[in-house]
């Protein structure tokens, strides 16, 4: 796998490079800003770009905009955006119309090295990864009791958040320390409450979740 990293903080960028190289992932370019990212992508044709939302020169949402532009130029490129923020608008904008090969994770998820590497692989392979906290934010509107999501139990929300991260039933069961059967029951209940058609395919389940998230935008 060939990866480009766009991150302005040297300490974090070097840490990421070291982590990826230790795990035999080829880091073909490291850049510090949005225009640099677009140049590196044009030059190296990587499989995946890891992009910080906040990049110079504006230090606002420059990285996000560059990531969206990079996707527009190379639709096959996987983009994993790392953000300091639980900002649902950014996540929704990144998802746009096409969920394949998209990831939005909070920055600190890099600390859970195995899960992070797993997320990289899934995004590069065209999967979708959405941070569970961003999902939780979308699922529980502030103060409101008017959302269909409020009908979900805390356990069901947890399952849904893990589903949005693209995890399999087995992985969800392991993570929640329950049986896969119990997870299956939760999922059936979630789909019933959200009036979404249930199916067994992991990726289609994520799409269903994302479709719901986009509707709720």
């Amino acid at each position: 796998m060939r990866v480009v990293i766009a991150e302005d903080l040297a300490l974090l960028r070097e840490g990421l490079v070291a982590l990826l190289r230790e795990n035999e992932i080829d880091v073909v370019a490291q850049v510090e800003d949005g225009p640099g990212l677009l140049r590196a992508i044009a030059g190296h044709k990587p499989d995946l770009a890891i992009v910080d939302v906040r990049l110079p020169p504006t230090y606002s949402d420059e990285g996000l905009l560059a990531a969206i532009e990079a996707r527009r130029r190379q639709p096959a490129l996987g983009v994993l955006v790392l953000s300091q923020y639980v900002e649902t608008t950014y996540a929704s904008e990144l998802i746009g119309g096409d969920t394949a090969g998209i990831g939005y994770l909070l920055k600190e998820r890099v600390g859970d090295v195995r899960a992070f590497l797993d997320a990289l692989q899934r995004v590069a392979a065209g999967g979708t990864v959405l941070d569970r906290q961003v999902v939780a934010e979308l699922l529980v509107p502030p103060g409101g009791a008017t959302e269909p999501m409020s009908g979900l139990t805390a356990r069901e929300r947890e399952v849904l958040a893990l589903m949005a991260e693209g995890r399999s039933n087995t992985a969800i069961a392991e993570s929640m320390i329950v049986t896969p059967g119990a997870v299956e029951k939760h999922i059936t209940s979630i789909f019933a409450k959200l009036e979404l058609p249930a199916c067994n395919d992991d990726h289609r389940r994520v799409l269903a979740v994302l479709a719901y998230l986009r509707v709720s935008r």
Partner: protein, 369 residues
């Protein structure tokens, strides 16, 4: 008689009736006793003037002594007019000064006309009233200065006060703007400094953890450290978000409000008519007003409809948040009171209209010139 009597005397108060109702009905027509007396005096003065002239004519003419009588009678009428003028001035120092000048004026006229008559009747002489006139003018001016000194000082005081208020308003606004800018700088530093370093730290800890799979004790310690770092990152994130939500800092008020409204899922309609960029303090205040209003709507209102309007014009940002819910919001509740303080710190105003059962309308006006 009546026609002639009206001419020289009664300019201010024309007779109100003719014929038999000539004198007494004046009272019935609404004149006060004072006014009636004054009009009587004027008529008597005119009659006397005519009478004196007639006596002079019948008495074989010669030295025109009636001129002195006319001077005396004329002074009486002049005194009446000038006193009337002085009395119409505003009460207090101004009226007192007017009275003094009315007397000075009458005295000056007496002096000048006396000199004029002696000059006409007895031949040329020096203008002897000059020193008396100078004395009158000096004492009148001195009295005016003393009497009106207060007013001059008060006017000066008012100007000074206004200048001070302007200065305080300006510096308070500068302080609020500086504070808002400083808060945003702190927020940025939290993200780009401490938080980013903590993220780098968790990454290093994660890499270390991979290397000690076989040593559960060390691995446990590393995972504990990582958990602490995660807590610290989450706390910093909440802190930064409370200062200024990222979308507000990055995209401005309208985008931030749209995202906020979407998150509440109230189907809020948003109308925004804003131009150019707003000061950070104004933006933040408007944002938190809307956030609080939407929270209240979502929690308490059971509203079917909710709307937000942002209008920026005439150096004033007007924020209106309304719903058609239950109403009855308490403007002195802690949330709304906090908003009021925030808005008033910007010299703005916050108005809440929330009758029981008839929706809630919140209007914040924020100066942004």
């Amino acid at each position: 008689m009546s026609g002639r009597a009206r001419l020289p005397i009664d300019l201010s108060q024309p007779p109100r009736a003719a014929g038999a109702r000539r004198w007494m009905p004046a009272l019935a027509a609404g004149l006060s006793i004072g006014e009636y007396a004054r009009s009587l005096v004027r008529r008597l003065a005119f009659l006397s003037a005519v009478l004196v002239a007639a006596i002079w004519a019948l008495d074989g003419q010669g030295y025109f002594w009636p001129a002195w009588a006319w001077l005396g009678l004329g002074d009486l009428v002049l005194l009446d007019f000038s006193a009337g003028w002085a009395w119409r001035q505003p009460r207090g120092a101004v009226r007192r000064v007017a009275c003094v000048w009315a007397l000075v004026g009458v005295a000056a006229v007496i002096l000048v006309f006396t000199w004029l008559l002696t000059w006409l009747l007895a031949g040329a002489q020096t203008f002897w009233p000059a020193w008396a006139l100078l004395g009158l003018a000096t004492s009148g001016s001195a009295y005016s200065l003393i009497a009106l000194q207060d007013r001059v000082l008060v006017a000066h005081g008012r100007r000074a006060l206004r200048a001070r208020i302007d200065m305080l308003t300006r510096t308070r606004r500068q302080a609020v703007d500086a504070q808002a800018a400083e808060l945003r700088r702190i927020e940025r530093d939290l993200h780009d400094g401490a938080q980013a370093r903590l993220v780098a730290l968790t990454l290093q800890l994660g890499r270390a953890e991979l290397r000690v799979q076989e040593q559960p004790e060390i691995r446990g310690l590393i995972l504990d450290a990582q958990r602490e770092a995660h807590h610290a990152i989450a706390e910093l994130r909440d802190l930064a978000r409370g200062i200024v939500p990222p979308l507000l800092a990055d995209r401005g008020l309208v985008a931030a409000v749209e995202s906020l409204a979407a998150r509440y899922g109230l189907g809020t309609s948003i109308e925004a008519d804003t131009h150019g960029s707003l000061a950070p303090a104004v933006e933040s205040a408007a944002y938190f007003v809307i956030a609080e209003a939407l929270t209240n709507t979502a929690k308490h209102a059971c509203a079917k409809r909710s709307w937000i309007s942002l209008t920026d014009g005439q150096r004033m940002l007007v924020v209106i948040v309304g719903d058609d819910g239950l109403g009855g919001a308490d403007p002195s509740g802690s949330g709304l009171a906090g908003l009021r303080a925030r808005v008033e710190a910007l010299d703005g105003s916050l108005h809440i209209d929330s009758p029981d059962g008839d929706g809630t309308l919140l209007e914040a006006r924020l100066p942004c010139g």
